[in-house]
Amino acid sequence: MSLAELWFFVIAGLWATYLVLEGFDFGVGMMMGVAARNEDERSEMIETIAPVWDANEVWLLVVGGLTFASFPAWYGTWLEGAYLGLVVLIIALLLRVISFEWRGRVDPRWRGLWSTINIGASVAAPLIWGLVLSVLLAGLPVAGGGRVGEMRYFGNILDFITPYSVLGALSLTALFAFHGALFLSLRLEGPLAERIRERIVKLDARHLLPNLTLPALLLAGGFLIATPFVAHSVNARSIVPVAIPAALGLIALIAAVINAQRGEFARAFICTILTIVGWVATLFIGLFPRIIVSTLSLGDSVTIQNAQSSHYTLVVMTVAAVVMVPVIILYQWWGFRTLMARLGRGKMPWSAPDSN
C-alpha cells in the first residue's frame, strides 16, 4: 500500500470520526423537533451535548485541512462542484453554532426561533453531507482541466442529485436521528427520556410516527446493500470487498435495533457508532482506488494517484497525524469523561466509574 493509499483510508477514518461525533449532535437537534414538547425540554436536550458539540465540530476542520493537504485536487474539485450545496451547509452550521450560544442569552421570546433554526440546521447538514459524500461514488462530471495536474468540474449542483446520493443523504440523516435519540435515551431522565425511549427508539405499533428505528433500518440498510452493487456497476469494483464492510455495517445496524428494543441503550449506541463507521467504510472501499468517479469516462476520475500531494508532504502529514491524533483522542476522551460523567445522570458507555 502506498502512502497516498494509506492517507485515503486515514481521511475515511477521520470522516467516520467526525460523523460519529457530530452525528449525535445533529440527532439531538432533530429530536428537539420530534420529541420535545416545549422550550424547557429543548434546553434539557441541548444541555446533554453542550460541553462537547464544539470539539466535535472541529473534527470537520481537521478532516478538511488534511484532505486539502494530502489530496489538493480532490479538495478543490469536490468543493468547487458542490458550491451551492456547501453554501447552504455552511450557513446551516453557522446558524447552528450561533443558536447554541445565543438561544439562552437572548430574550425568551426568541428562544423558539433559535430552536427552530437549530432543528432545521441539524436536518440540513446531514442531508448535505450524505449527498456530497455518496455522490463521490455515484459519479460527477469531472476530468482533467486545461492545465496539467489540474482536475476540473464540468457540471452544476444538479449533478449531485442522483438516486444513490439521495439515498445516501436520507440514510445518513435517518441514522443520525436514531443515533441522537439513543444518545438522549442515555443522557436524560424523566418523562422526556421515557417518551424518547418508548415512542422513538423502540418500535411501537401504536406510535409508528415519529418512530425513528424503522427509517434508520430501511434507509441505512438500503444504502449498505446498494453500495456494493453501485460500486460494481459504476466504479468497476468487485462486489465481495465492498460487501464485507457493508455486511458488518448491516449487522451493527440490526444489533442496534435489537438492543434498543431490549432497552440496552448503551449497547445500541455503540452499535450505531459502528453502523456509521460501516457506512463510511463501505463507501470509501467502494471508491478505492478512485476518489471522485467521473461520469464522463472512468479514466477521467479523480484518483488517489492523480490527486495526491508530494511524498514529502504526505510524510510530514503522517508524522503530524501519528503524533497528534492520539494526543487529541486522549484529551478529548478525558474531557468527555470528566464533563459528561458529572454533568448529567445518564450513564454513558465511557462514563468514569465515579459517576452516579
Binding site: L61, L66, F68, G76, E80, Y83, F100, T313, M317
Partner: protein, 482 residues
C-alpha cells in the same frame, strides 16, 4: 480622512458588470475581514482572562474571580462567532479558489492541516472544558485549561499566518516540472519564513491592543456610570499597563515588518508609499492628493518628511527605495508581460490609515497613563468617554492592516507563483457567487447586530456576585445558559 479614501478606493474597484473573479475576491475579502473582527478579540482576551484567573488562584482575591467570569462571558460570545466564521474560511479555498487549492495545496494546505491538528482542536476542546469545568475540575486543572486555550489560539494564529506568509513570500517549495504545481520540499523553511515571524508578532501584538482597549473602554464605562468602580479600577490599571507598551511595540514591529517585506515584495512597499520612481534617499509622504495612477504619477499636493521612508524601509537614512516603475520593469522581465502594480490609492491610504489610527490609539493610551499617574483619570469624564469610543480603534486598525497586506500583493495570490486570476474555480459562475455573497452578507449582518447587542449587554452588566458558599461553583459560571 484615510477611512473615506480607503472606502472610495475600494468602491472604485467594484465593477459595474461583475465578473466571477471580482465577485469571488469580494466574497473572500468581506468574509475574511468579518472573521477578523472576532479573532483578535479572542486572541487578546484569552490571555487576559487567564491572567485574571491566575491572580485569583494565587491571591484568592474574589474580585479577580468576578472579573474572570465577567470577561469570560464576552470571550465565549465572541469565540463562537470566530470559530463559526472560520469554517467558511477553510472551505472557501476549495469552493471559490479550486485552482489555487490544487496548485499550492501541497504547501498551503499542509499549514492549515497542522493548524487543525495541533492548535484548533486544543482551543476548542479546552474552551468547553473551561466553561463546563467550574467546580467540576480541580482549581489547578481548571486554571490549566484556560492557559491551554490561550496556547491553542496563539498556535492557531501562528499556523494561519504561516499559511498567509507563504502567499506573501513563498519559501521551501519547488515547482513540479510536469504539472506546474508547488511541492513542499522544506517544511522548516515554511515554518521559519521570516515574513511569518514578523506577521505573528505584529498580529498578536495588535490583538492584545484590541483586548486592552476593550478592557479600558468597558472599565471606563463603568467608572463613568459610577458602577462597580472598585472592581474596575484594577482593570484600568491592567489595561494601561498593556496598552502603553503594546501600542508602541505594535507600531515598531509593524515598521520592521515593512522592512522585512521590502526584500520579497518591493512592489508592496513602493505602492504603499505611492513611490513611482526609485529614490535615494527617499522621503515619506504624510499626505498627498493625486499621484495614484500610472497616468498621474505626480501628486498635485504632497506633504513629505525627508529621509523618513529610507529609514522605514531600509533602517538607514540614506537607503535606496525602489519605485513602482522600476519594480514593474523587473517584474515584466521576470514573469512576462502584465501589470504588476496593485491599487496604489488603496495601498497608500490603507497603510496610512493603519499607521495613523494606530498612533492615535497609542496617544490615547499614553494620555490615559498620564491621567492615571496624576490620579485624575476617574474624574476626567472626557477621557472616560474617549476610552469608550476608543474600543473600536484597534479593531479598525487591524482590519485596515489586512486590507493593505492582501490588496497590495495583487495581482498575485501567491507572490511570484500564482496570479489571483489563475486561482479561481472555473465552474463557479457569477450568478452562484452573487447568490452566496448575498446570503453570507445578510447572515453576517444579522449575526453582527446580534453579537453587538449581546456583547454590549454583557459588557454593561454588573459582574456576577460570588456567593460565599458557592465560591467557584456553577451558579455564577460564565457558561452558556440554554
Amino acid at each position: 480622512m484615510p477611512l473615506c479614501a480607503i472606502l472610495s478606493a475600494a468602491m472604485d474597484s467594484l465593477p459595474l458588470a461583475a465578473d466571477a473573479l471580482t465577485l469571488a475576491r469580494w466574497q473572500f475579502a468581506t468574509t475574511t475581514l468579518y472573521h477578523f473582527i472576532f479573532v483578535p478579540l479572542t486572541l487578546g482576551l484569552a490571555p487576559v482572562i487567564a491572567y485574571m484567573q491566575t491572580k485569583w488562584y494565587r491571591t484568592r482575591d474574589e474580585s479577580w474571580l468576578r472579573l474572570t467570569k465577567f470577561f469570560g462571558t464576552l470571550l465565549l460570545i465572541n469565540f463562537a462567532i470566530g470559530a463559526a466564521t472560520g469554517l467558511l474560511q477553510e472551505f472557501q479555498f476549495g469552493m471559490n479558489w479550486s485552482s489555487y487549492s490544487q496548485f499550492v495545496g501541497d504547501v498551503f494546505g499542509s499549514t492549515l492541516a497542522l493548524e487543525g491538528l495541533i492548535a484548533f482542536m486544543l482551543e476548542s476542546t479546552f474552551i468547553g472544558i473551561w466553561v463546563f469545568g467550574w467546580g467540576r475540575l480541580s482549581e489547578r486543572m481548571h486554571l490549566a485549561s484556560i492557559w491551554l486555550v490561550v496556547a491553542g489560539t496563539w498556535l492557531s494564529t501562528t499556523f494561519i499566518l504561516m499559511a498567509n506568509s507563504w502567499m506573501q513570500n513563498p519559501v521551501g517549495y519547488s515547482i513540479d516540472a510536469a504539472t506546474g504545481q508547488a511541492r513542499m520540499v522544506d517544511l522548516w523553511a515554511v515554518l521559519t519564513n521570516p515574513i511569518a515571524i514578523w506577521a505573528v508578532a505584529h498580529t498578536l501584538l495588535a490583538s492584545l491592543m484590541v483586548a486592552s482597549f476593550l478592557l479600558l473602554g468597558i472599565a471606563c464605562w463603568h467608572i463613568l456610570k459610577g458602577r462597580n468602580v472598585d472592581l474596575f479600577r484594577p482593570v484600568v490599571k491592567l489595561s494601561l499597563y498593556m496598552a502603553i507598551p503594546i501600542s508602541t511595540l505594535t507600531l515598531l514591529v509593524g515598521s520592521e515588518f515593512g522592512v522585512a517585506l521590502t526584500g520579497p515584495q518591493p512592489m508592496k512597499i513602493a505602492s504603499a508609499e505611492a513611490l513611482w520612481n526609485s529614490e535615494q534617499p527617499a522621503s515619506f509622504s504624510l499626505f498627498q492628493i493625486g499621484g495614484f495612477s500610472v497616468d498621474d504619477q505626480e501628486p498635485s499636493f504632497s506633504l513629505d518628511i525627508p529621509y523618513l521612508l529610507s529609514f522605514l524601509a531600509t533602517n538607514t537614512f540614506t537607503g535606496k527605495v525602489e519605485g513602482m516603475n522600476q519594480v514593474q520593469a523587473s517584474a515584466q522581465a521576470k514573469y512576462g508581460p502584465g501589470n504588476y502594480i496593485p491599487d496604489v490609492k488603496l495601498a497608500y491610504w490603507s497603510m496610512r490609515g493603519m499607521a495613523y489610527i494606530g498612533s492615535l490609539s497609542a496617544t490615547i493610551a499614553l494620555l490615559g497613563g498620564f491621567l492615571y499617574w496624576r490620579g485624575t483619570l476617574e474624574k476626567s469624564r472626557w477621557f472616560l468617554k474617549t476610552a469608550v469610543a476608543g474600543i473600536s480603534l484597534p479593531f479598525i486598525t487591524a482590519l485596515i492592516g489586512w486590507v493593505f497586506t492582501e490588496t497590495a500583493r495583487q495581482p498575485w495570490v501567491a507572490y511570484g507563483v500564482l496570479k489571483t486570476a489563475d486561482g479561481l474555480s472555473q465552474s463557479v459562475g457569477p450568478g452562484e457567487i452573487i447568490a452566496s455573497l448575498t446570503a453570507f452578507m445578510l447572515l453576517y449582518i444579522a449575526i453582527g447586530i446580534t453579537a453587538f447587542v449581546l456583547l454590549r449587554r454583557y459588557a454593561i452588566l454588573d459582574p456576577p456576585q460570588i456567593l460565599p458558599a458557592e465560591d467557584a461553583k456553577s451558579e455564577s459560571e460564565p457558561a452558556p445558559v440554554y
